[in-house]
Amino acid sequence: MLKKNRKISVAESIREGLIMSMKKDKNVILIGLGVDDPKGIFGTTKKIDKIFLKKKRVFDFPTAENTMTGIAIGSALSGVRPVIVHQRVEFSLLSLEQIINQAAKWYFMSGGKKSVPLVIRLIIGRGWGQGPQHSQSLETLFAHIPGLKVVCISNPKNAKGILISSIEDKNPVIIFEHRWLHEVKDFVPKKYYKTKLGKAEIIKKGKHITLISSSYMTMECLRCAEILKKYSIQVEIVDLQSLRPLDIKTIMKSVRKTKKTLVVDNGGMMYGISSEIISKIHENLNPREKSKFLIKRIGLSDNPIPSTRSLAKYCYPTYDDLVDKVNKMLKTKLKIKNKLLTKNIATDQPNLNFTGPF
């Protein structure tokens, strides 16, 4: 296996997953504004149209998100396997009627006659002053709806696996993709492989505290763990991967193991991801455990995200904040020089190479 691994970015991994899926199943098509343009959706679809030249399979679209979704649903009912991508989750709000009323319920309301195998990739924006309408998370708007599957990519490896599994799935699957993950690199197998939908993954084992998170926030958790390791604090990280269905078994295993849990929400906490996680944990603990276990949460501040970087930086918890919070929860009173990891990246840049605009 090792030989067949190489370090590639999340964007490259998604692209590879798309190409492999399209080669495997000729019914898979790619739809979205800009899927065939020079930038290719942050590189994730770059030149895929060139690879599949004979029969057109990559479709740019008019700016008509609601109809785009309806058309994808219709085509999915007739044997096509469409993958939609929106460059910002906000654009998909125009299509929630089709997603929630139609796609999510089609299998049910047709009495099991037809399901809608549709993948919708939603990109969460952040940074570079994009402001209130280009930086929301909004996962729970989808995760609340029975009939949808809702999953979150958090690294190069699961990017490809989740994408492939979603395309093979017979149901509408919403994939959340954080803009700040696209350039993150790691080892990714070359082969065609799946990451089971509905499973959380313990991506780091540890015994002192559990961090539960998803999407980009899992990166911050990893950084937090790296710092704390130097102080002999072993952090366990549960990467949710799937918000619906929710893998409560894996969550509870880790919660029970460390007895201290910090839920790290990738969005606003009110009626957010962390609300459901904490409720579920609460429901699963017995009274004795309840008094001994420590369960906390942290997440985005409860306001629209401003454009100015001078304020946007207060909205997102960083690994610094996580370290502080863990420090408090464990009562370790460590004096930590968090700066260890920051290579002086500005708070509105995903990485050093990035100099806007999106």
């Binding site: 085509s75 009912l77 047709s110 009495g111 006659k113």
Partner: protein
């Protein structure tokens, strides 16, 4: 083009059958056993029949809340439909959908949903898949005048024109959206066929209460579509004879004037065609009797079937959430 005698009778029969079925639904609705909203098509049968008679079995249709006529005209199973209204496991959607979610894949009835306008892009997507897969099938999308106010109507025509999709947009203009007359909702200068043309979709206005006009003109168009694989739109003026939702007449509410009602009552597509057929000796009283008997038998056996069928079992609730 001329219509053969046999086909004329068939057109009449299909309309009458739909009418009688819906009348029976209306009658029996007050037994409170069909416990779901019903939007009857009484008065609008010529559109459904005129268009669907030109479609092949594997051509597809999608429709909206007022879907009984389209479902039946396309050949959807009567028993499954009535059972669906009764909420039984033998229903076309196993009772999960109700009257507004009729479906019969074998007959090419691909979808009905009650969110106004929402099946327009879905139908367009089915047509797109047909084009991609070169299936040669035609899709007809039925919708009302109210649905042409939704953004998805325009967006779908746009897409169909851009990709030259074999889809027939059928706008059944009964001038009302619930109790609202079209003049309260649309500028007097607005014109549905011009809209269509301006977006790049050829279109035609038809008399929705003349079964022969609907049949012949849509035959023309559908024949063209089979060759050139292009989208078309037809707008058919027609009249909803009973209340928007439910089994009754609601003329007492006075949202439609006496004049208006009188005008349209004289335009009933079925009684006029019956007169025409009789006048031209194409239909004898005896034939008519036979037809009516036949229809009656179908209806009573469908209702018997539905009534005798079982309600779905509890486990069905969780069976079809994920495929």
């Amino acid at each position: 083009m001329k219509i053969k005698k046999k086909n004329k009778i068939k057109l009449y029969y299909e309309m009458l059958r739909i009418r009688e079925i819906e009348k029976t639904i209306a009658e029996k609705y007050n037994e409170w056993e069909m416990r779901c909203p019903v939007h009857l098509s009484i008065g609008q049968e010529a559109v459904a029949v005129g268009v669907c008679q030109n479609l092949k079995k594997n051509d597809e249709i999608v429709t909206a809340h007022r879907c009984h006529a389209h479902y039946l005209a396309k050949g959807g199973s009567l028993k499954s439909m009535i059972s669906e209204l009764y909420g039984k496991e033998t229903g076309c959607a196993k009772g999960l959908g109700g009257s507004m979610h009729l479906i019969d894949l074998r007959a090419g009835v691909s979808a009905a949903v009650p969110i106004v306008g929402s099946t327009i892009p879905i139908g367009t997507g089915i047509a797109w898949a047909n084009k991609i897969k070169k299936s040669g099938k035609i899709v007809a999308i039925f919708f009302g005048d109210g649905a042409t106010e939704e953004g998805v109507f325009f967006e779908s025509l746009d897409f169909a024109a851009l990709h030259r999709l074999p889809v027939l947009f059928v706008c059944e203009n009964n001038e009302y959206s619930v109790y609202s007359h079209i003049s309260k909702r649309q500028s007097k200068k607005r014109n549905i066929t011009s809209i269509s043309e301006s977006l790049g979709v050829k279109s035609l206005k038809l008399n929705g209460n003349s079964i022969e006009e609907v049949f012949l003109k849509s035959k023309d168009i559908i024949n063209k579509m089979r060759k050139d694989s292009k989208p078309y739109l037809i707008e058919l003026k027609t009249f909803r004879a009973v209340e928007h939702c439910g089994p009754n007449n609601d003329d007492n509410l006075n949202y439609r004037t006496k004049n208006y009602l009188n005008y349209w009552e004289q335009k009933c597509p079925i009684s006029n065609y019956e007169k025409f057929l009789k006048r031209n000796k194409l239909l004898s009283n005896y034939q008519l009797l036979k037809i009516k008997e036949n229809i009656k038998k179908q209806i009573s056996s469908a209702f018997d079937f539905a009534k005798k069928s079982k309600f779905p079992k509890k486990k069905l609730l969780k069976k079809y959430i994920y495929a």
